[in-house]
Amino acid sequence: MDSIHAPSSADAGHAGSHRHWRHTRRLTAWLLAIWFLSTFFFLYFARALDQVHLFGWPVSFYMAAQGMMLIYLAIVVYYMRRMRRLEQQFHQEQGHGE
C-alpha cells in the first residue's frame, strides 16, 4: 500500500521543518495577495483606466491581454526561485544539526 516516510525523528529536524513551513506559508500568502490584487482589484477598476494610454495602448486592454499574464509568470518564477533557496537553507541547517 501507500508508503509514507515517517517524519524525521530528530527534534531539530522537526523545528526546522516547522520554520520552513512558516516561510513557505508566508511566501504563498504574499504571492496570492499579489495575484488577487493584480487580477480582481485591477479588473474592477478597468473602466476608469480605459482612457489612459501608454505607448499607444489603452492601459486596461493591454493589462488584460498581456500585462496580467506577465505578472502571473513573474509570480511563478519568483515562487520557484524563492522555494529553491528556502529548501537549500533547510538542508544546510539539517546538515549542521546532525
Binding site: 509514507i4 521543518s17 473602466r47 499607444g56 496580467m68
Partner: protein, 680 residues
C-alpha cells in the same frame, strides 16, 4: 540507466531534429503548391502525415510497466513536461474559438485569456509541488490518503473518481467533436470518418504507451501547435505593420482600428442596415405578441403562395419546389413558432446593435448594464482560474517530474509555453478584424473574395459566414457580415490572402490541439477507473500486468463511448465544457487546497464539502439555463450559469470547514502525511 542530464540532452536533440524536419516538410509543401498541387492533396498530406507521426511515436514508446504507463517513469524533465502540459491544456476550443471570441466580444473575450493563465499561479503555489511530494498516480489517490475514514478512504476515492469522470468526459467529447469538425472541413471526408481517424491515432498512442507515449507525443504536438499559430500571425503582422512580432505589432494597429470603429458607428449606410435589422426584430416581436393568430395567418399566406405558383402554368419546377420548401420549413405548431421567432428576433436584435468596440472594457447601454458585465467578467475569471487549478488531467502531469523542485519548474514552463501562444491570440483577433474592416467592408458585392463562398458553403444550415446585401446598395457594410467565431482562426490564412499550405498548417495545429487534449483526458478517465476503482477498491491484489491491461481495455471502451457521443453532434455538450471549469472548481478545489493547508479538515468535512459544492453548482446551472428547464430570471446578481462556481466554491469550502470543526479531528497518520507533504 543514463542520467537525467543525458536524457534531457538526448530529448533536446530528437525534438530539434523533429522541428527541423517539420519545417522542411512545410517548405516542400509550399513548393509543391507553387508547382500546382491541388488543394485537397495538401489537406490530405497534412492530415495523414501528422496523424501517422503521432501514431509512430506511440508505437516507439509502447510500455506495460506500471510507473511508465501511469506517470511516464517519473523522469520527464521540467521543460518537456511543461510543453506536454501546454499541449494538454491547449484544446480545440482554445485553438479555434478563443481568437473568435475576442473578435466578436472584444474586451469580454479576454476573461478566458486571464482565467486560463492566472489559474497556473494557483497550480504553482497551492497544488503542484505538494502533489508531487505525495507522489502517487491520480488525484483520487491524494484525496483518499488525506481523508481516510473508518472505511479506509474508499468513499472519498469514489467521490473523486465520479467528479474526475464527469469533468473529463464532457471535455473529451468536445475534443473529439473538434477533431471531426477539422478533418471534415479540410479534407471533405465525412464527419464520423474524421472522428474515427482521429480516434485511431489517439488510441495507438495512449493504448500502447500510456502516459509515456502521450507525453512524448504531446511535446511533438505542441511544436506543431506553436508553428501553426505563430506562422500565420507573424505573416499577418508583417503584412499590416513593419514589426513581425505579433504582441507588439497589434499595438500599432489598435489605434487605427479604434478610429475605423468610430467611423463605422456613425456611418449613414451602416445606420441604415442596422435600422433594417431593428425593423425585422420589431416585426418578429409583433408576430410573437399576436400568437397563435399570427402563426395561422402566416401559414395561410404560405399556402396561398403555393397555390398561386401551381396555378401559374409558366412556373418552373424550381419555383414550385422552393414554394413547397417554404411550407415544410414553416413552424409546425404554435410552440415551435414561438421558439423559432424568438431566436430569429434575438439574432436580428443582435445585428441591429453597433459593432462592439475592441478595447473598451464592459461596454453597456447604461451604468447598470456595464456593472453586470463587469461582475460576470470577474465571476468567469474566478471560475476559470480555480477550475484550472482543479482539472484532474492537468494536475496529474505534475506527478511525472523527477522531483518536487522539478514540479515547480515545470509549472513555470507550462505557463511559459501557454503564454507563447496566448500572447498572440488577441493579436490575431485584432489583425484579422483590421483586415476585414479595411478590405472587405466597403468592397463591392460583385467582387466578394473566394473564401466567403468557400466557407459559406461548408455548413448550409448554420453557415459559418453569411454576407447579404440587406440594403441593396451593392456595397458590403459591416452590419451585413455575420461571422461565426470559429472561422477567425481556420479561415484566417485565406482572409489574409496567404498561400493554401498555411491553411493546411493551421488545420494540422487545430487537430494537434484537439488530439493532445483528448489523449490526456482519455488516459485520466481510464486511469481513474482502472487504478482507483478496479485496483484500489475491487481487487487490491491484482498484479501490475493485470492493472495495465485493464487500464488499456477501459481506455478503448471510454474512447469508443466518447466517439459515439461526439458523432451524435451534441450542440449542448460544447457549452457544457465551460461548465466543466465551474464543476471542477466547486468539487475538487477546496478539498485539494484545504487538505494541504489546514490540518484540521477531516473526512466527513471533505465529503460534505465536495457533495455540497457539486450540488450547489449543478443546482445553479439547472436553475438558470433555459435548456434545462430553468430561466434567466432565476439568476442571482445576474451571474451567468457558466460561472456557477462563484457560488459553488464558497459553499463547498464553508461546509467543509463547518463539518470538519463539528466532527473529530483527523488521526495522527493523517497529520504525519500532511507534515510529510509540507516538508521539503
Amino acid at each position: 540507466m543514463e542520467s537525467n542530464k543525458d536524457f534531457f540532452r538526448r530529448l533536446t536533440r530528437y525534438y530539434a531534429l523533429y522541428t527541423l524536419g517539420f519545417i522542411v516538410f512545410l517548405c516542400v509543401l509550399a513548393l509543391l503548391e507553387h508547382e500546382g498541387m491541388p488543394r485537397t492533396w495538401i489537406g490530405y498530406l497534412f492530415l495523414f502525415v501528422t496523424i501517422g507521426l503521432y501514431a509512430a511515436i506511440g508505437v516507439v514508446c509502447r510500455t506495460s510497466d506500471v510507473p511508465e504507463y501511469y506517470v511516464a517513469g517519473r523522469r520527464v524533465p521540467p521543460l518537456f513536461n511543461g510543453m506536454a502540459t501546454a499541449a494538454d491544456w491547449i484544446s480545440a476550443a482554445t485553438f479555434i474559438s478563443l481568437a473568435g471570441g475576442l473578435y466578436l466580444q472584444g474586451f469580454d473575450g479576454l476573461a478566458y485569456i486571464i482565467g486560463w493563465t492566472g489559474g497556473y499561479c494557483l497550480v504553482a503555489v497551492l497544488i503542484a509541488p505538494y502533489l508531487r511530494k505525495f507522489g502517487q498516480y491520480t488525484i483520487a489517490d491524494f484525496l483518499a490518503a488525506r481523508y481516510p475514514g473508518k472505511a479506509g478512504g474508499n468513499v472519498i476515492r469514489i467521490l473523486a473518481v465520479c467528479a474526475t469522470i464527469l469533468i473529463s468526459f464532457t471535455y473529451v467529447v468536445a475534443q473529439i467533436y473538434g477533431v471531426g469538425l477539422i478533418t471534415s472541413r479540410f479534407t471533405g471526408i465525412d464527419f464520423s470518418i474524421g472522428i474515427f481517424l482521429g480516434l485511431a491515432s489517439i488510441l495507438v498512442c495512449s493504448f500502447l504507451g500510456g502516459m509515456r507515449a502521450i507525453t512524448w507525443t504531446q511535446v511533438a504536438q505542441y511544436i506543431i501547435i506553436l508553428l501553426a499559430y505563430l506562422v500565420p500571425v507573424i505573416w499577418l503582422s508583417a503584412k499590416h505593420t513593419s514589426v513581425p512580432a505579433p504582441p507588439v505589432a497589434y499595438g500599432v494597429v489598435l489605434p487605427k482600428l479604434t478610429a475605423i470603429e468610430q467611423l463605422l458607428e456613425q456611418d449613414p449606410k451602416e445606420l441604415e442596415v442596422r435600422r433594417m435589422f431593428q425593423a425585422r426584430a420589431d416585426d418578429y416581436a409583433l408576430k410573437l405578441a399576436t400568437l397563435p393568430q399570427s402563426w395561422e395567418e402566416g401559414r395561410e399566406e404560405v399556402q396561398r403562395h403555393i397555390d398561386e405558383v401551381k396555378r401559374n402554368t409558366h412556373a418552373s419546377l424550381a419555383e414550385i419546389k422552393a414554394a413547397s420548401r417554404m411550407l415544410s420549413s414553416y413552424p409546425k405548431n404554435e410552440e415551435e413558432a414561438r421558439r423559432r421567432w424568438n431566436e430569429a428576433r434575438a439574432v436580428a436584435l443582435a445585428r441591429a446593435q453597433p459593432p462592439t468596440a475592441q478595447t473598451e472594457p464592459f461596454p453597456g447601454r447604461d451604468a447598470e448594464a456595464s456593472d453586470i458585465k463587469r461582475n460576470n467578467f470577474l465571476a468567469l475569471v474566478f471560475c476559470l482560474m480555480l477550475g484550472t487549478a482543479a482539472l484532474p488531467h492537468i494536475l496529474m502531469r505534475y506527478y511525472t517530474t523527477p522531483t518536487v523542485a522539478a514540479a515547480r519548474k515545470s509549472v513555470f514552463w507550462t505557463l511559459f509555453f501557454i503564454m507563447l501562444i496566448y500572447l498572440s491570440v488577441p493579436a490575431l483577433a485584432v489583425l484579422v478584424k483590421y483586415d476585414i474592416y479595411t478590405s472587405l467592408v466597403g468592397s463591392s458585392y460583385a467582387h466578394l473574395p473566394d473564401w466567403v463562398y468557400y466557407w459559406a458553403n461548408i455548413d448550409k444550415i448554420n453557415p459559418l459566414v453569411a454576407i447579404h446585401d440587406v440594403n441593396h446598395d451593392g456595397v458590403v457594410q459591416l452590419s451585413e457580415i455575420a461571422l461565426d467565431g470559429d472561422i477567425i482562426v481556420l479561415a484566417m490564412p485565406e482572409i489574409a490572402g496567404l498561400p493554401y499550405f498555411v491553411s493546411g498548417l493551421v488545420a494540422a495545429g487545430g487537430l494537434a490541439a484537439a488530439l493532445s487534449t483528448a489523449d490526456g483526458l482519455l488516459l485520466t478517465i481510464s486511469n481513474a477507473l482502472s487504478h482507483d476503482i478496479y485496483y484500489k477498491v475491487v481487487d487490491p491484489s491484482a498484479s501490475s500486468q493485470k492493472r495495465v491491461t485493464i487500464s488499456k481495455l477501459l481506455l478503448l471502451v471510454v474512447a469508443l463511448l466518447a466517439a459515439y457521443a461526439a458523432s451524435l453532434k451534441p450542440g449542448d455538450i460544447l457549452s457544457m465544457v465551460g461548465a466543466a471549469f465551474s464543476l471542477a472548481a466547486s468539487t475538487l478545489f477546496p478539498a485539494l487546497v484545504l487538505g494541504v493547508f489546514w490540518k484540521r479538515v477531516n473526512q466527513p468535512g471533505a465529503m460534505a464539502g465536495i457533495v455540497s459544492g457539486f450540488l450547489m453548482c449543478v443546482f445553479y446551472m439547472l436553475h438558470t439555463t433555459p435548456a434545462f428547464g430553468g430561466s434567466a430570471a432565476g439568476q442571482w446578481f445576474h451571474i451567468a450559469p457558466i460561472s456557477a462556481g462563484v457560488f459553488g466554491v464558497p459553499t463547498g469550502a464553508a461546509v467543509m470547514v463547518l463539518v470538519s470543526l463539528l466532527t473529530a479531528p483527523p488521526d495522527d497518520g493523517v497529520i504525519a502525511l500532511v507534515e510529510h507533504i509540507r516538508s521539503p
